[in-house]
Symmetry: C3
Subunit: 466 residues, 3 copies
Amino acid sequence: MVHPDRYFDPDPTIRKLASGLYQSVAGLPLVCPHGHVDPRLLAENEPFPDPAKLIIIPDHYIFRMLYSQGIRLADLGIAPLDGGPYEEDSRKIWQLFADHYHLFRGTPTAGWLQHEFETVFGIEERLSSANAMEVYDQIAARLATPEFLPRALFDSFNIETLCTTDSATDDLAFHRQILEDDWAGCVRPTFRPDAVVNILAPGWKAEIEKLAEVSGRDILKLGDYINALENRREFFRSLGATATDHGVFSPYTASLDETAAEALFQRALAGEADEADAKHFTGHMLMEFARMSVEDGLVMQLHPGSWRNHNTSLFNAFGADMGCDIPVATDYTRNLQPLLARYGDQANLTLVLFTLDESTCSRELAPLAGHYPCLRLGPPWWFQDSREGMTRFRERVTETCGIYNTAGFNDDTRAFPSIPARHDVARRIDANFLARLVAEHVLEEDEAAEMISELAYNLAKSTYRL
Amino acid sequence: MVHPDRYFDPDPTIRKLASGLYQSVAGLPLVCPHGHVDPRLLAENEPFPDPAKLIIIPDHYIFRMLYSQGIRLADLGIAPLDGGPYEEDSRKIWQLFADHYHLFRGTPTAGWLQHEFETVFGIEERLSSANAMEVYDQIAARLATPEFLPRALFDSFNIETLCTTDSATDDLAFHRQILEDDWAGCVRPTFRPDAVVNILAPGWKAEIEKLAEVSGRDILKLGDYINALENRREFFRSLGATATDHGVFSPYTASLDETAAEALFQRALAGEADEADAKHFTGHMLMEFARMSVEDGLVMQLHPGSWRNHNTSLFNAFGADMGCDIPVATDYTRNLQPLLARYGDQANLTLVLFTLDESTCSRELAPLAGHYPCLRLGPPWWFQDSREGMTRFRERVTETCGIYNTAGFNDDTRAFPSIPARHDVARRIDANFLARLVAEHVLEEDEAAEMISELAYNLAKSTYRL
Amino acid sequence: MVHPDRYFDPDPTIRKLASGLYQSVAGLPLVCPHGHVDPRLLAENEPFPDPAKLIIIPDHYIFRMLYSQGIRLADLGIAPLDGGPYEEDSRKIWQLFADHYHLFRGTPTAGWLQHEFETVFGIEERLSSANAMEVYDQIAARLATPEFLPRALFDSFNIETLCTTDSATDDLAFHRQILEDDWAGCVRPTFRPDAVVNILAPGWKAEIEKLAEVSGRDILKLGDYINALENRREFFRSLGATATDHGVFSPYTASLDETAAEALFQRALAGEADEADAKHFTGHMLMEFARMSVEDGLVMQLHPGSWRNHNTSLFNAFGADMGCDIPVATDYTRNLQPLLARYGDQANLTLVLFTLDESTCSRELAPLAGHYPCLRLGPPWWFQDSREGMTRFRERVTETCGIYNTAGFNDDTRAFPSIPARHDVARRIDANFLARLVAEHVLEEDEAAEMISELAYNLAKSTYRL
């Protein structure tokens, strides 16, 4: 059912070129420099749970769409924070999902699932109310076999490197276990310090205490805090990390002078910081993180522009990551100027920029990446990690910054079995994009052939120093 | 002259699929849940006036384009407010229009007119300086026949429901007359309270007095005002209304506390309100209108982001609606958060969002609609009610919120004879969009077949509870 | 190697139509109403220097891309301000460029260069590390022949008019020399007063003194300054100027009252102006320049929205125009309202608007241009002067304001030998855009045939009153 020419333009000239370019890279290993797979999965290597727990309950792409059409989260197996009832019968959840599968028509989720169902679980039929239980059984049966243990899948997926995303205070025990075990899979942590940087988050003080503990030092002054972070980065690097990641509301950057920074930090410790303090502290810390990257070589990733937990009612009832993070317009030109003017041409810095605001692609991001040596543009993120989104991205940035200032593909997923499907979409869309350029005589075939392997493999590897 | 395959991609695979999908819905009745046809037209059922008065003088799409190329509004039959001279010879106006018909090349207006000329008036030639008077005569002759009376056209257009847009203080006399007459056409009012909400409008106080009168109560306090509005909504519902509509500059929403709201209302009554008051009052009232919709089930429509009467010189000379309403960048994520967090998952609320700022489609609107149960995205509005605009809309929102969180088509027109043309464009563009997805193996044919009837008919009906 | 069908859609129907439309205008003279060619070139008519000095060193499109991949500007022959060393061997610079030529794949630069190499210098091979010196020699050899003197190229390029961009205080000596010489080439100056308007620029006071000198009057009061500018415009007009150009950060416009304006001007003269003063002064002067255009008929061009010299480190080391001007989001609707409401319908005013913020095209610019008689939309500027950029522009504005409210093409270049290549791209993309509309039965062939000659030739001429 997944067609061999899917996602290629139906024009015969383009389709033939696209298919050829795609075939040339379809077998390359998967480089996964940014994602959210739980390292415990690969450390413990236990069988996956049932289909609903594997595919529906953890995937906010899926349950938000069902929720948007009036299905209650509790009916999808998501537990309310107040301990109230929720559906625990995975078969019922799966049936409810199958009954509404038409909602995903035309979305990347449908494409990923179909690819996963077919190539991972051997199911060629489209999911429907009628075949829901049959599909459930077939997936469940496969999940019980040794070929479907996480490490076996990792190997059969041909994953070369998988980077996880980990809190700055994480002890990386699972990563250590993976390294120590007799398994060759390459799984690397990524240093994500958001929880210790967002001074307004309710748990911030506790995070600082945890940071003090794991880094073995008291954190009384800003210098202690900076040292602790540097210490953690060193620890992450010792376990294979090559990158950091920073999720911020705004990409505002600006260094405070030493006195102001210290005073702000003390207000934060005293629980007296306000919104403006939080903005300035984040802006100051982004400058510090850039400096640290110049020093220790960790690639810096910036993911700005999402209003997290927009549906505060739902957040209060169910917690974070309930599919209601909504993007806002984002300004990179003004906000990043201090950082870029200071560190933008440092040979050792790589800063990968992501956006949820596509209007910035041609206006700000491509002009920035087409100038500053440190910059690479990350692949289309989240809502734009899709056929149309990827196509728009290439159309909007390539003419200004080329492909060599982009960072290849990230699958950015916590849905481990969907990884091959996601890379497949990116490789197909990039092949189709290049095929059109060849058909329009913008590129020659030999150029496109080199470019598709850059996009499918090399750029991710070189950008993330893997 | 209107080609049977117009607006379909020339690629043979896509064109064939698009044509098939289109044919499957071309004969479906027209559902018109949002528009600006004058109900008097269908109540009185008098013959339409001459071609210029029917087609040119009331259509700001047409006269703004002529004005943009230096033609004076008075020469197009538009009367200056100061009682100065203006062209009253409809033939001269028509000739002037025909002499400049090339200006509309590539615009939706040209497409709508050609379709209307040919399918409504039987004119196959393209309008030109040379044939202007001949075309005028042919239209005028048709307008004099009984088949061209408004109700006859309504029936021959196969309109299932036509919703008008009506002031909150309107007595809906024309709607009552239509209901009472022996004619089966379904014409429903829509409750549009802008004139009683915009406290800075010069006529606001008079509108409040009118509101008091029609609702039969004094309006001394905010509570009286709210009650009067609830009363009017009930009255609108009794005559068939299923929706409200709200035109605001910004979609800002926030509830004031009772004391602040009352104080603000008193300042407004005293003529002492300022810009900030107006913003807060509108934001407060949008919250109130959402609450009322939760209670009475009227579908709420929001049309933000237009700077009305931008050309203040022209506004002073000719009044409102002179084709100089210019969009501004609009923020939905921040502005709607209070309303959505409070009412977004209320089963009885449907909120249809429109935009003139296409950059919000993928960034804000699709992520919002792909989460909140109450939301549906309205069709591309105004400047985007066009081939390219509709295509961009589907390309930008479908991957994030699917088609089932969109509201089908609105013709949004005051140009009654153009209604079939407008629906035809939408059905063709949606068919073409789906055909491409089938050709690229994103959808299968049976899925596309179901989706096109949703887009052409069902979604409008279900969204607006018709 | 440059394919005769390049940039045309591979769909056979579109390609055939596009090729026909293109062929019909390919031989038309080039109208160049906005650009940055140095008039000295055509005045002195000396041979061009070597290939690196002609093609690489002055072209920020080229060296910014190389810089973005870690190549130092000094290695590309750009002299640091501190007198430090830089590469002076043009062959080494050319080799370095050739070694990194793959970086330009898919960019307009690659397309322009290939066209220039082939049609101007007779080189059909693609530049590479291997053939770099051979290509260098071939270009150098041609540059030494009389056919490659600037005036000979101007004639062989079939340039009808070339407008340069000149400071308000320029003595236009080169323009005078060209006029006086026995050469028929039409080269016109354009009045660009930015340096005398930006009161915060370090050299502003010196510019004012220069302005006083060249206009033969003391500048003590704002009225003197205004008079001096009017005097300079008259001087520019006497040497053939038909337009002015204004580069501003924001298109903010608003008239100050006389007292406030005078006070502001005095603060500026005293070196006491601040950021807010600068904004208000620029906004006031844009109103004044519009008034002057109404009076003297010079077409006014507005180029807003670029953060100049974003990389302040690089600016300090190398100066301005180092490829690090980065766009910002721009608001036209609010900012231009005062100017447009006051002068927007003056028959004698033509205001050409440019943007680097594509999100404004459908949202603001097309609605404005589709209403105000004075407005024409300039062609896609800078980063959008490209296949994709031009296509997006036509797709986003045509449906709202048609083609007749657009200004035709500007090459906007300082790279003289690339002029034919740039016009060729625009003619091809416009032909392709129209061909698609014909293939989709939006236009008929005779309409497209008229439109392509408007886009390729007439609109530039009429907009700029040439």
